[in-house]
Symmetry: C2
Subunit: 343 residues, 2 copies
DNA sequence: CCCATGTCCCAAAGCGCTTTGGATAGCGGC
DNA sequence: GCCGCTATCCAAAGCGCTTTGGGACATGGG
């Protein structure tokens, strides 16, 4: 069934050495011989055994993604799927395997150590970084190449990351609203310990300051980004003495919740209340059309996955490459969910 | 850094053979010696090199998930994430690695052949089966253990699968609506070539027949399960001469679209129009509470992942186990989105 | 006292590949 | 005709583990 190098070599009357060199493009092989070998290999669909190859070379030809699942809140971040799909495309075409580890968050550090000790991967992708994320220190110490999707805020040593400019995106979004005359703007943010949430908050606060609006903590929320979370935020906040006229949402799903709240209240989105949401451009939550339903800060997380994977592979293949960083800007896409303040 | 078996053995003044046997629980090792070995191994955090081990044993200790991405419609099925999370939990605790391959759908067959030729996995999970799915034949031919998440309809040889009882679920849901007096019931289904969509359709048609309602093709739609898809279905169908009074949706996301359509039309869900949707119990789309927002046919896809993985591992570890099958029933959970027909 | 029987350990081969260190042969230059 | 190259090929070691096939020693029955 599966043919080995040795068998292939024997069938050609050659040594394994020569066949190996021919297949791996080394120069010391006669052109005619090489051609013969390649032909035979193609014919029997020879593929080198992954494990044997990487045992011999010392490189795993694999990248690890460790996804922690919290036992308290069982959320599997919906954007993981698209990010991983993007990264996976890149790995496949570069001949790398992607290995995924789903582990209880308490065992995450152990998972990394384990991966290293077993020599299972050449590098890892770090997901959903916290404000103060211990993984960066751990992985630098372990000497395992890694790339962070996002950033973390307090590390001494430099590290490699790819992030979107959350601060700028939310600053622009907020500014867009203040220019429409909104002064009561709510921020329905992600979990407080997430780094991206902090950056968005900063951008939001900056824009408020620019518009000489003093922030109101009653208008800022942090939470897991579910639809009911958005719904609750909307229905509760409109009951404030001085309710917000505009909302910034941290994700499309949250925006759905906000919209439902609005509908229940008999209010019209874009007229009575404005909404801007961040849009990761997930395939199953499209926000398209000539005039999209939502005004968004938009950035494809799938594309982020592709780019992050490329960076990580570079890190793996040329260890001297030093820390690589990339900041993607989010587009501010104007849709139907925003308008001048209305009373 | 990473310690090898040989080093560990040397440091103990023992042969690699003995250390290996001790660690793998073979009987021919003195109890005291074994204890000493285990202790030392724990101390230096010894982990056998994955590749070396599986080269020696011939088992990859890894399960593959091949996820095809269509180049035409770039949808990454959102339920993959939860299913994979569930499966991943099982793999981890059983000491298996999960390897993920994201490939263009045209190259899916090649991906499976490649996985086999390289000896990269011990088995694979088959996602999103079509009505007539060629993968079943391919994998049986390749002799690679596999488990289908879902079913396919026309294969001669038996194969292993885990599915939810889509037909029964949608039959019950439809019946629930007919008992409320609904006679114009729309089915907003998944893509036509998907096996699950067909089974749901069958269940729906059965219930209609039971209620002596003749099906109307104008009330049946197939499509990619996005929010706008649901929205369009709602806004267009209410304009029919004899519009539906109830809708069956194939996913939570589609139901969100239906609901938005209703809201736009100024109609109330559960009063003017009833909606039942299938709920995969995704963590970020919760439908809970004393009275959930939606009436649903509910089945946790995460749990399905866990069970499917267990079955696949059994298949891998005891090849004689023969085809394993499991049919999970979906619960009919009554929420606020259904009520008697109203005019 | 001898041999059979365990018990406990080890040397060495092998998994399928890469890679080092030659070996062989052909070639032109002197 | 010999030398030094270069062009081609190969044998063998090694990657880190498991596993086969003993070997050494103690024990106990006859």
């Amino acid at each position: 069934m599966t043919v080995t190098l040795k068998q292939l070599a024997a069938s050609l009357g050659l040594s394994p050495t020569t066949v190996s060199r021919a297949l791996n493009g080394f120069p010391e092989v006669n052109a005619a011989t090489r051609k013969r070998i390649l032909q035979a290999a193609a014919e029997v669909e020879y593929r080198p055994n992954t494990r044997a190859k990487s045992l011999a070379t010392g490189r795993a030809q694999a990248i690890g993604h460790v996804i922690p699942v919290s036992t308290s809140h069982e959320i599997v971040n919906p954007i993981f799927a698209d990010f991983i799909a993007g990264a996976g495309e890149t790995y496949s075409s570069a001949g790398y395997e992607m290995i995924l580890r789903i582990v209880p968050d308490a065992e995450e550090a152990r998972a990394y150590r384990d991966l290293v000790a077993r020599g299972a991967v050449d590098g890892v992708m770090v997901h959903a970084p916290l404000r103060h994320d211990p993984r960066v220190a751990l992985l630098t110490e372990l000497g395992l190449p890694f790339l962070v999707h996002g950033r973390t805020s307090d590390v001494a040593r430099p590290y490699s990351w790819l992030d979107i400019n959350n601060q700028r995106a939310f600053r622009r979004a907020t500014q867009f609203l203040t220019e429409f005359g909104h002064r009561r703007i709510a921020l329905i943010n992600g979990l407080e310990n997430m780094d991206f949430a902090q950056r968005r908050r900063n951008g939001y606060l900056e824009a408020l300051r620019d518009a000489a609006i003093s922030p109101d903590e009653a208008l800022i929320r942090n939470g897991e980004m579910t639809e009911p979370y958005g719904y609750r935020a909307m229905t509760e906040m409109v009951q404030l003495p001085d309710p917000p006229t505009a909302f910034l949402a941290s994700s499309m799903i949250v925006a759905y919740g906000l919209r439902r709240g609005l509908a229940d209240l008999g209010l019209r989105m874009g007229r009575d209340v404005s909404i801007i949401t961040h849009d990761d451009d997930l395939s199953y939550l499209p926000n398209q059309g000539d005039v999209p339903v939502f005004t968004t800060t938009k950035s494809s997380v799938r594309e982020a996955g592709r780019r992050a994977a490329k960076m990580l592979l570079k890190l793996v293949e040329s260890p001297g490459a030093g820390p690589l960083t990339q900041l993607m800007e989010a587009a501010l896409v104007v849709g139907a969910s925003t308008g001048p303040v209305h009373r």
